[in-house]
Symmetry: C2
Subunit: 769 residues, 2 copies
Amino acid sequence: MTRLVTWLCFLFIIGACGDKTNPNFKTVSTPEELEEALKNVQAGDNIVLANGIWKDVQIKFIGEGTEDKPITIKAETPGKVFIEGVSGLKFGGKYLVVDGLHFRNGHSPSDAVIEFKVDENTIGNYCTITNCVIEDFNKMHRDDTDLWVLFWGRHNTLSNSYIAGKTNRGPTIRVDLEGNESINNYHKIINNHFGPRPPKGGASGETIQIGNSFSSMSPSYTMVANNLFEECNGEVEIISSKTNFNEFRNNVFYKSEGSLVTRHGNYCTIDGNYFIGDGKNENIGGIRIINTGHWVTNNYFYNIKGKNFRSALAVMNGIPKSPQNRYNQVTDVVVAYNTYINCDSPWQFGVGQNLSQEDVLPSSEIRSARPIRTIIANNVIYNEKGDTSPIVEHDKADGVTFKSNAINNQGINFQTYDGLEAVSFEVKEIAENILIPSSKIAIEPYKGFEFEKISKDLIGNSRAKNNSIGAFVSTDFKDPKILDRSKYGPSWYSIKAEAPEPKTIAVGKAENLQSKINEANNGDILLLEEGNYDIPKSLIINKRLTIQSLDKSKVVLNYSGAENSPLFQLQPKGFLNLKNVTLKGNNTQYAFASLKENMFTHFGLTVADCDISDFNYVLKVHKESFAERITFENTSISNCENGLELSEETNDLGDYNTEYLTINNCRFNNVKSNVIDYYRGGYDESTIGGNLLVTNSTFTNCGAQEKSGILINSHGIVNVDISNNTFNNNPVKLVALLWGAKNNSHKNNEINNSGEIRIEENLEMKLMY
Amino acid sequence: MTRLVTWLCFLFIIGACGDKTNPNFKTVSTPEELEEALKNVQAGDNIVLANGIWKDVQIKFIGEGTEDKPITIKAETPGKVFIEGVSGLKFGGKYLVVDGLHFRNGHSPSDAVIEFKVDENTIGNYCTITNCVIEDFNKMHRDDTDLWVLFWGRHNTLSNSYIAGKTNRGPTIRVDLEGNESINNYHKIINNHFGPRPPKGGASGETIQIGNSFSSMSPSYTMVANNLFEECNGEVEIISSKTNFNEFRNNVFYKSEGSLVTRHGNYCTIDGNYFIGDGKNENIGGIRIINTGHWVTNNYFYNIKGKNFRSALAVMNGIPKSPQNRYNQVTDVVVAYNTYINCDSPWQFGVGQNLSQEDVLPSSEIRSARPIRTIIANNVIYNEKGDTSPIVEHDKADGVTFKSNAINNQGINFQTYDGLEAVSFEVKEIAENILIPSSKIAIEPYKGFEFEKISKDLIGNSRAKNNSIGAFVSTDFKDPKILDRSKYGPSWYSIKAEAPEPKTIAVGKAENLQSKINEANNGDILLLEEGNYDIPKSLIINKRLTIQSLDKSKVVLNYSGAENSPLFQLQPKGFLNLKNVTLKGNNTQYAFASLKENMFTHFGLTVADCDISDFNYVLKVHKESFAERITFENTSISNCENGLELSEETNDLGDYNTEYLTINNCRFNNVKSNVIDYYRGGYDESTIGGNLLVTNSTFTNCGAQEKSGILINSHGIVNVDISNNTFNNNPVKLVALLWGAKNNSHKNNEINNSGEIRIEENLEMKLMY
């Protein structure tokens, strides 16, 4: 008996130790060991990646797990396994899970970092990537397209991951449907935190794209739910839904410059999402509707100031008999039970109507087909400050029916619509960014066809009894904590807190400035002591730095570097803030330039209170380089062959080199050509399209050798403002040629002996699509 | 006790009589009574229409039945209730049934005879029309569009009905999907007999159309099953599927000139259908594929001789980025387990490729996008006579994969394809038109993605075990009796047997010819005795008649009727076969003409062995008139102002006036203009496009006043053959101007002093779409 007990105890201990000795668990430490371990993988197997940096690892995860016994690849400690270099992961087979990896300092070897397909015959189904991070995993060139997660097959999942920092061409996530194996896919993209994606400065910067126009007829049934989209600013579409029957539920779009767009495909459900703006940024949008049969229900919009394409609800005009890749008419759309708080002109119809472009665009580009059979019902609008046009009709909304909508417009008049009733009600703040009516609005909800299927409100309360218009049926509920980051992304990862307090590092003229730069941390300030600095070689800027002095007249950087080399070489992640210094060249070099190659992520430049003279180029931004902002303020630029040149994106695919080029209170003297040359080409509407602000500046004796005859060349830039400047004796034909149909303007400029500012209403652009 | 028994007996009798006295049954005899009865109709109510003719009755059948207690309108005796005049039926509500009516001698008051909608807010759902006949219920004008059954809503049914004879514009049946109320409709069109629909001579002559290009993105799920389509010749599409997820199962297409076409929309199932040709008629087709994701399985094709658009399997080229109403590329299509017996070149790919038309068509009409991701697997081809090209590539089939297909080509060489194996096997006749391999073909079926879902064969045998390629897994089974008409349409209706033996009626010259015509029955022969007949007024032909004599030189019809009146007025259903007579006019009248108005159905004309002279027009076919065949043989036509004119269809919508205009062995002398003028305009591919055959004839001194300068004018006619004719001294510029890109040809003509025959490769046509 004792012996039996002993045996049982022994067996129990064996059992308890099973996890460690179980052949189903295998820890691997090198790509080779991993490859070997994957060779004969069986249902139920668990492969553990040892902590550490895995470089240049291309995982082909092929296996046949089962629902009960998936095959997993896990980090030994989630977040301690770093995938770096030229690395990627491909799934082929069934019930495969990858858990806890951190992709950084590298890029994909192919067209995707993570792909649910190994080859045409080896596709992933029921596979999951979860609890991972992909950060700044960019190709070396902006034009080198890839995806970070590329879905194929069916029933695959991306969950609880943090994904941020994509700058190269290509949506962050894409679902592909080509082939019957990948339709009716029921993929899930859930509980993720999509962190900042900076503006791409060109098309193809979506965070999620589901299908494409060529698969826009296919049933997809992809579910995007419970994600946080934070500063996803890549392009005008945060999510581009291009197939049928997709669902977007309970996501939070926070300060993201763009919209959720039903670009192609039909019958999507957009239910229970939060769209939160900052009350100022007009690039932050809501939902843009194209095509047929979408249901937009229970969504909450706060502080959205986007207009037109980026309005809280933008219902587009279509192209009659549209080509497959353009704009079908909006039909049979239902927008019901949404709440709009402090949004400017939240409902815009006939968006994209462009009849005035008939002279420059082919008829297959003219959006003249107005929305039809579309119903806007049971919605609530509240404006803290009354809005004179809560509804904007870019084209007649005569195919739209309004029923049982309420607006509190603070008594401010607006065009009346049957079905939009001015009502007086208060709102109260339930949580940060969440304001709801503080009492029930006395409008009976309209009962449209199948409205009974909208059975719950935004926070899950039943609408069966005690129903009311707007996104919330109750007038009191607890904070849904939509911005609690711990609810999204990996459990082990939290986004870095604020950068540490910047250090100020004094630099004497005898010292090697580059070595001081190298020693500095992100955000630090180099304070240059008085004196003349002889700089024989380019200074490499690859971090966020301020370089400044107390008196620019006494701090002079004399650049003696090679011809066509820059004094400041702006590399990826190089954000230079230069203040109060004098820069001098020998007329053959550049003051500032990006890299010619491998600008794998963005840079930035602010120049203030500087004197710059005797360079070939003041600024040369090379192709595929992008800065969100480039600013020159209170700066004098003189005796240079060229000024600021950002005009190498000439493939006319809508790309450009900076989002905001700002020149304020500067003096340009004797800059011979390319005084300001900022180019964007190609008929594209997916970006902000660039911003050129030239104000309070003087231009004297500039442009003498400018071949275009234009002093400030902003070809194709969408937003241009030239105001309060003085132009004296510049031998050019035109000071500027503005694009009238876009947001180009000028005022209060004094122009003496310098040509004129001309406005061309319609600019002919190359059709990209 | 006795009393109790008596009471019980009484109650039983009351109960037994219930059907007659039950308030749920109500017999009505007039439209007014019916309207009254419908006013307060309740679930379970039955309204009985008294036998007889109901004229000008427009039924609005509105009610709320239940699944268990539908509301019915029934014929007192099925087939004894005739709906005539301007009549129609509209359903609004739920669970409504109409049973046993016969629509004839009339037409709809609106755009539909039967419509599942009363108005926008009153739509039929779960409604049924069954056991009815709609025959020749045509609008008075061909261009006056209507439908005979127009579906809206959801879950409606057309079953066991006989529907034939539509000649006016508009599909016979159409399913409309505009509005969310009508998507996901799951309508059923089952067990019907679609009898002859003659060629329309223009577009919009489908038997069934499901949706349209503007609703082509919508899910439809319409089921078309177990119907017989017999001589449904209206246009090139018998069924035009234009929405998604429709199913076509177990239908029989018998000698129907056209195809089942997936014109718009995607993911249709075409399973288990029979396509039976006559082995000669090249207008009888099979299945034509456009768009994405269709599954064509278990179908049987016999004796199909159609080519190109009308081949047994026609897989089209698409237009890159096609406009919504044109041709999307074929992708992701599966054609598996079908059997093709004695079909000419049954598989054709890249159908519609028209790169050669780039000069005359805009790029948005050029079909250059070849099928991709398309698989042709497990099919069987048997040719009694070997076929040198069982596969035709109008464009490269490089996006098509062939797997495990077998062909018995009787040893005749053909271009080899991987996946199409020449195999020797015998066939045997299971039933009329049904030949199957007499032994199992030793090719293992290919297992494509989800092929396991093709779980049964054409006759319902499981493919799970003992599977084989082709439509039938067994090599022996009993006659499926696919042409047993009693299986289709109403139980009470059988199509009339052969016409009775024609009577020959002798007519003396003293008699009133018109009264004899009136007395004759369909198919009778009027034998004219010798003599000169003075005809002061048009002879009205509104039935099928032969008028002939034994010696044309001795039977002369002298027409003294009014200017521009016809000697023979061809009315709807007037089919005149004129033989061996002489017709003479006074140069101001017509020999033959259709009605100027109200040609609500077709006519026909054969003229043989006649002498015709001294008319203004020999034949004038007015706008909206159509004859399937017009033939002149062995006939002399002389001294007329005009010849045969069929050229009033100038709206360029693809319409024309006769399918076959045949002139054989005729002599034209001194016909001044419009010698032959046969017109079709508009860029349209939905019809045969007309046939002009001019053979073995002589034309002398004709065309002197012809303004076009063309003797035989066949503008836009697709099939033209001018052979073995002699043209002498005709003062015209051209004998004919042929359309090279179409099926126009000429040979062995002797042309003396008469211009020339010119071929123009590409004819510019007005775009209709």
